[in-house]
Symmetry: D5
Subunit: 107 residues, 10 copies
């Protein structure tokens, strides 16, 4: 099941650089692990902003919230979640079609 999460990050201006880098490193590791297991399907940088558009493929809303609220940067994030259904125009054989999602989830 797919959800879009649009995440804006605002770190406090007075956060020491070292602390910020450490959190960002943990965030990157956390994200890459979820990308490898296929639940974090896509992550793109919004041009010009410390923000991303991500697509999650999870089994439930609870699982989605656990993933998002577990982000190291979560306390500094404004996240907007949009529930995504399959689109009637989505072509079967593309990366988008339901039956291909399982294949693409890193299986």
């Amino acid at each position: 099941m797919l959800f879009m999460a649009e995440m804006e990050v605002r770190l406090p201006a007075d956060m020491p650089a070292g602390e910020a880098d450490e959190i960002k490193a943990r965030e990157k590791a956390y994200s890459q692990e979820l990308q490898r297991d296929g639940r974090w399907r896509h992550i793109w940088r919004v041009a010009g902003r410390y923000a991303n558009v991500s697509i999650f493929d999870v089994g439930s809303v609870d699982e989605l919230h656990d993933l998002l609220s577990g982000l190291p940067l979560f306390p500094y994030m404004d996240i907007r979640v949009t529930a995504l259904a399959g689109h009637p125009s989505a072509i079967a054989e593309g990366p988008n079609a339901p039956e291909n999602r399982e294949k693409e989830r890193g299986s």
Copy 2:
């Protein structure tokens, strides 16, 4: 190069059903052709709305605008475009990484 397009469709309430169905059929064909050639990378339905979130992979902004303004439903659409850059956390071997995008564009 990736762009997100969030499209809301508002057909006039007094449009005859037949005319609406005809435009939707052309829209579906138009979309599926672009999905097959890889430029319309993803299309998802926003749950509860006559709206979609789409990801386009195009060579220029002009190409993007030509595709969007060529949509049969374009006169009835409110479209918001977001330019997407690669994200530093995107893992190389996923569907997301730059080098895989060419492969996935149906080449």
Copy 3:
């Protein structure tokens, strides 16, 4: 899995009363059937508006979208969907706790 749907209805001012009543009757029947099978868990009227706040309990986002887009009033609705996870403070024995939801879905 729970989703909140906030629905505003705007019927065209020039819609004949008879036609409006007919659609509303179908809407009511449609809603009550879903309430009986437990998927439309709650429906409340927003005081002062032709709008409601509803809570759906469904198995997937696709199912949610099918239910919402199948509403007879859907073409005249502006719907905002919010994905709801379980809350850490929710008490077990209340109507809210996950394990009671199955019971309450009329199963």
Copy 4:
């Protein structure tokens, strides 16, 4: 009488973790007591946000405000209240119907 309260929590970035945990513990106890006596009818977590959607069943607006302003996290909350009336489509025998509300309030 039902009211929806949508609560966003923003704790100061520089609040010591211990202090935050202590307030959250008091908040949880406060909420669970109200859930047990039936006045805090529902509480759900908004996926991806430190926010909740709650439904209160109270005797007056004053009672509602006393409950909300008594929340330990109140000083750090942005709360939007929506007054909810019974919906004409609400089925009698569901958890939603007026006559069942009394039963469900922990009687």
Copy 5:
């Protein structure tokens, strides 16, 4: 129990003047009856707009919604309801204090 209702009226531009005047006359009569029985406590015109700010004193949210949705102009109105509690600074002997409200309700 007090509720503020902020009402904006937008009549269709092509509504015949006679029809508009007839609805407005019914609206005025409807409002004045509720003012006499004390439930419509205050009604003020927002300077420069076809809008009003009203204060209702009702026994429940359902009663409030019945009153508002019964307004002849309701189909052409955008109404925002705010639930009002007693204010800790409200002086006892003023028109505002709870105990005076009963007196002032035209009893």
Copy 6:
């Protein structure tokens, strides 16, 4: 002449409790004095928020601004002023009618 003032209060999170209580005490005294002399006609608490809706009856805009900017909490307030005219539906004998306002101003 009537004006609605919608006031949201946001005290700095790190303001010592004693200082806050002291300002609030001065605010209450200031408000109650104006209520007694009839210029602060109504004050209601917005349910769920540290905010109020107030109705002022003053002789000029300058007088209104002097009253509002003199509030001890003014530096921490976001105030929205709406100019209120008499409403054509307002019934003569109610608390609302112009001729009663002079009486009710504690004359």
Copy 7:
């Protein structure tokens, strides 16, 4: 007493040109009469919009609303009113100072 009124005009697209010109002519005459008697103190065109910023000098809010709601274009206008007080920095001898306003009102 000064009020700013920001007025946006939206005429129905299908209004016959003749009818529009006739209303605009009445609007111009109406406005110029109020400018001559000093109550419509200033009227400026917002560059690029069918909108104006106006400053009114009136004796009461009721008078302001009567003037605005009497505008021939009123049914097609969205008007935002801002109550203006004297500014502590306003220099005495300028057109702005209170004591000069009487002189400038053509008295």
Copy 8:
């Protein structure tokens, strides 16, 4: 050439009173000098807010920006500029008409 500037001032809550007063004094002197030379044509206080509506009469946008960015309070201001053209209804002999503006600029 006329521009409206709507200025909201937000001083940091922890700015020492002395520092604030000093800046305000410089701001007042700065403003009054520009009022005397006619470039700061009008300044009004927005009732209930630490904000003003001002009308500037300058020779270019660059001149306008230099004046505004030179305000002592500029770092604490949110300023919205609206370019104002002459209005076709503006009467010749009023303070508003173009030909009178030169006269009124304190020449």
Copy 9:
């Protein structure tokens, strides 16, 4: 003097195609003439929308408004004007620097 104008066009859904094409042809000719004389300095299409971002170089706000309100599509446009000053970082020899603007205006 430079102004940015952001223009959104919304043609009535029921406007005959021929009429729309005729207006668009006049709009194109009107625009190209102003581009040739240098006053319409830049015009770009907003990707995905029937909208443009334009930069005008005019002698006064009145001239700007005359140009914009003279657009054949003006009745169907929503235009937002932003006054642009020279930027302190603008390099002298670029197309941006003031002294080059005269050259580039085709003088």
Copy 10:
């Protein structure tokens, strides 16, 4: 390929003047270098705000994001990016026409 970037700068109120000046100096040098190599095509100051409107001419969205996120002031900026396509009305021989862009990029 063209992108508009609208940048608002908000420096922390308590940043020492020296630190601010140092960052601004680096920002100016950074910007001017990009202007010289033609990628930062235009930069204008928004009158009355610490903000600019810029036009970038880059080869990809990634390049755009690298340029913007490399700005010394980036951590204190709110940037809104709009993708710009060629406009069908753009005249060939103007600075705007595609074929002239290469020439003007200092190639």
